[in-house]
Symmetry: C2
Subunit: 144 residues, 2 copies
Amino acid sequence: MTKSFKEIKQTLLMLQSIDRRVAQNFEKRTGISFTRYEMLHTLFERAQLSQIELQQTLKIDQAAITRHLKILEEKNFVVRNRNKQNNREVIVEITDAGISTLENCDLDKNQFIDELFNGFTDQEIKQLQILVKKLIDNTEMLNS
Amino acid sequence: MTKSFKEIKQTLLMLQSIDRRVAQNFEKRTGISFTRYEMLHTLFERAQLSQIELQQTLKIDQAAITRHLKILEEKNFVVRNRNKQNNREVIVEITDAGISTLENCDLDKNQFIDELFNGFTDQEIKQLQILVKKLIDNTEMLNS
DNA sequence: GAGATATAATTGACGAGTCAATGATTGATT
DNA sequence: AATCAATCATTGACTCGTCAATTATATCTC
């Protein structure tokens, strides 16, 4: 039951293009990289996290996490400390400066999301979410 | 009418993760980069194209196009010649070697698509396509 | 026809994420 | 207790795509 590749190809191409544009445009508007914003936001929601936990949430490589955190630390948006209970782990926390940076982005971020999903009904957003979830579950099986 | 950012954030994160995994896994299976496969496939469908036309189809930067074509040319999968009617343009064509490379990938590619869209109904694939199209239309408005 | 403008391709420098190798710490086995 | 394996973080080398600057050609305008 092989699907029409031509259409699938186009959909995948569009998906990649969307991602790139989202990242580019988000940074242009808010002044902070989309990935680093997501990191900060995740840390804001969940207080203290190890880098592994961040990695699992953001689904990017550990090496990338380390490098982003280095940048966020230089700007004093996060602090990092070894976990005393397990010295292999680094515990990351957002700082007040980090939180206020998040807050400053809020308007631009909301505006951005509104434009990105302009014309979408709640139903469609939910539908997209479901389909994307299904896709990512499938990608998790790909390596076997 | 700001949407629930938490869910949207997650959807966008998943989208990016899907794209990366698709590219990684496709190359691992077929031995050719996903983007370069798409280039070859586009050239196969449409015979002769300028690099600008390729760029518009693949929606990646011109610079990236130039570099991918350099690689494809080194492998003799494509040939490039200046357009005699307009010497600014380079006309790209797929070679027989390029075509047979495409053919060799076919089985792996179909297998890959089947796994990626495993459990999707035709209806769902169509739905995804529509939503993605809507999204990309919105991203095109973002810069204004 | 000469000079300004536009278009196509190329190059270099950059940021992002991946993989593989390394280091440091912890846990398990004997 | 000593070795061996597993886990977490870091680093270097790499690919990919972007942007900005450059070159070459074509088109427009006076």
